[in-house]
């Protein structure tokens, strides 16, 4: 009896461990709302949010740094955006940990959030004002590379970029090869793993978009790997 009890416990621990870790990574939006009080003096978020001393933070995920037309950013942040910096959980975390260390000329005069938990919480809070998982196109709050499990054997497949180039023509009817992302997200220069994970999430209908579920639904594991290899560095 006792032995089986221990076994059961072990099983439960193993199965819930990844969930707990994921939940910690994502942070707690309720706690984040409290942390956001430190940001409120300059930033608005939520319905009707406008640019104030700092830009509004609606839809921040996936946005290019210095990406709002109507806000006058520092040259430093504008340069970072033009060189490809986008706001995702990891880049946001690095920025708010110590803004001046991350972008030396930024006008954001904030000394930073040293506690990783505070950062995770406030980022989780901001996620609530980025695209919702059922929205299309999806923004990356729901598209972080770790939100779906894919068999390591599938992740290990080396894709054939030439085949990927042919298959890609089905994607480029909507997704621009130059990486434009108005209304439809950019799919170029993604790390292979993120691309493969995202496509399998559509194939398994874990991600909600009907066009993508349909397109991914009939791609084989090799074809997804080929597309990842091609879009990682097209042409």
């Amino acid at each position: 009896m006792r032995r089986s009890f221990i076994l059961t416990c072990a099983t439960v621990l193993v199965s819930i461990a990844p969930l707990t870790r994921a939940a910690e990574d994502l942070g707690d939006p309720e706690a984040g709302k409290v942390v956001f009080a430190k940001c409120k003096g300059c930033h608005q978020v939520g319905e009707g949010a406008e640019n104030k001393i700092g830009p509004h933070l609606n839809g921040i995920f996936g946005r290019k740094a210095a990406g709002l037309d109507r806000f006058n950013y520092s040259k430093s942040l504008a340069r970072a955006g033009n060189s490809g910096l986008e706001w995702h959980a990891d880049t946001l975390s690095a920025y708010i940990e110590n803004p001046r260390a991350f972008a030396s000329g930024t006008r954001m005069s904030f000394r930073g959030l040293k506690d990783p938990k505070d950062r995770a919480n406030v980022i989780a809070y901001l996620r609530e004002f980025s695209d919702n998982p059922r929205d299309i196109p999806e923004a990356d709050p729901t598209a972080t590379g770790t939100d779906h499990s894919v068999d390591p054997a599938i992740l290990a497949i080396q894709g054939d970029p030439e085949y990927g180039a042919y298959l890609s023509s089905e994607c480029t009817t909507c997704h621009q090869i130059e990486g434009g992302d108005e209304g439809i997200p950019s799919i170029v220069y993604w790390p292979d793993e993120d691309f493969v994970v995202a496509m399998h999430a559509y194939k398994d209908k874990q991600r909600p978009h009907p066009v993508m579920q349909m397109i991914a639904g009939r791609l084989s594991n090799d074809e997804i790997a080929a597309l990842a290899a091609y879009f990682n560095n097209p042409q």
Partner: protein
């Protein structure tokens, strides 16, 4: 090449740097001629030129220097796009891809000599010919209407001046006036198109002329995205749209362009605008090439080659391929399969299996977008549907707005896929 001087000069504007070099080097190179610079033809020309990296000589014959996409032309009618937003030129295809762009009408195909003759004189030889001419109208399809009536009762189903004319007529309607549409029978270009157009006209009238009415005479008992459109018309334009389907005599229609009357099932109505969208057939050059059977050109699903001639391929609206709707998205999808096969046949490059897909977005009112789509595969008989989806009635406003924004992204994507 046997292009005469006049055509050559006509083409240089668009061709710029691209023409002289490839022409000199073209001796001995396999030659592809593409007729029609829309979603099928422009895409096929671009992919063959791009992927063959100069190994294939590509000529694109298209009469218009400025091409207006038929897709999104309804959004111009609704005031959501400017006409200039849907205008495209061929400069990039010529300059960056080395495509010989010839702005002229193709007037005939000599399948034995393998040449295409041009209205401006001369002819262009080909090893492989791709026809993507879009649609023409079946003569006598709507009693009282022929192509010379198009200035009084526009079809606006080839975008450009016709679309502009229809918009001007809508804006000039008297208060409380009547807009009539004669909808086409199946199969026709862009299945949701007439009904998106009704929505866009209603949108404009609601703002400028709210007591105006819309009558649609339709020979079909049902139409694409019917429940979505009818829900949208009831929600946004209550009481404005009167759709008369086959069951109520919508197929028994005649028009009188001089008197501006429409007679539906024996009942004559005076109207202020009448948009006649007649029954359609393949663009004329397909018939002149002798690759049509009835109104359309049958093709093999694996590579879009004509069933009448293995060296001719037919793309898009003009083709009879099976389950795919006649849409810009479909033509673009078919063009890539065809380009892969043509390049393989001419240069020995690897030919991958055919995959096709389509999605059609429609706008019902501001930020109220819907869509329908499917994937397809090649079978020995036809292009066959594999899987599909459609927007649902009762979706929330955020999803509809995102669908509309997605359609804008798609437009940017497909037009850069076509024109470079």
């Amino acid at each position: 090449m046997t292009l005469n001087r006049r055509v050559f000069l006509g083409a240089t504007g668009a061709v710029a740097a691209g023409l002289s070099a490839p022409m000199v080097l073209a001796q001995g190179k396999p030659r592809v001629v593409v007729v029609g610079g829309g979603a099928g033809g422009a895409t096929a020309a671009r992919y063959i030129a791009k992927d063959s990296k100069g190994e294939v000589d590509v000529t694109l014959i298209e009469p218009s220097r400025v091409y207006y996409t038929c897709f999104f032309s309804n959004l111009y009618l609704g005031g959501f796009q400017e006409l200039s937003d849907i205008a495209h030129s061929y400069g990039t295809l010529a300059a960056n891809y080395g495509i010989n762009v010839v702005h002229d009408w193709a007037t005939g195909v000599d399948r034995d000599a393998k040449t295409v003759s041009l209205a401006g004189g001369g002819s262009v030889p080909y090893d492989k010919l791709i026809l993507s001419p879009g649609i023409d109208f079946v003569e006598g399809a709507v009693e009282g209407w022929n192509i010379s009536s198009q200035n009084k009762m526009p079809h606006a189903y080839k975008a450009g001046s016709q679309t502009e004319l229809l918009k001007a007529q809508i804006m000039a309607m008297p208060e409380g006036g009547t807009f009539a549409m004669v909808a086409p029978p199946n199969p026709y270009r862009c299945p949701p198109g007439p009904y998106e157009r009704v929505s866009m006209v209603a949108h404009v009238l609601k703002a400028n002329n709210p007591t105006a009415k819309i009558i649609v005479a339709d020979p079909k008992p049902k139409f694409s995205k019917m429940s979505l459109f009818q829900e949208g018309w009831a929600n946004h334009y209550e009481g404005m749209v009167d759709w008369i389907g086959e069951d109520f005599g919508g197929g028994t229609v005649s028009v009188n362009p001089d008197a501006m009357t429409v007679t539906i099932d024996g009942e004559e109505t005076k109207v202020d605008v009448c948009n006649v969208i007649p029954a359609m057939k393949a663009g004329r050059i397909a018939e002149m090439a002798g690759v049509t059977d009835g109104n359309w050109a049958p093709v093999n699903a694996a590579d879009m080659s004509s069933k009448a001639d293995p060296d001719i391929y037919v793309l898009g609206d003009a083709s009879q391929q099976g389950d795919m709707p006649k849409s810009g998205f479909s033509a673009n999808s078919q063009a890539k399969v065809c380009a892969n096969a043509v390049r393989g046949a001419l240069t020995g490059s690897k030919v991958f299996p055919a995959k096709f897909s389509n999605t059609c977005w429609s706008l019902i009112d501001t930020d109220d977008g819907v869509k329908v789509g499917a994937t397809y595969e090649a079978t020995p008989e036809k292009i066959a549907k594999v899987d599909g989806f459609i927007s649902q009635t009762g979706e929330d406003a955020d999803l509809r707005k995102a669908t509309y924004e997605e359609s804008l992204g798609w437009y940017a994507g497909i037009t850069s896929d076509m024109f470079g």
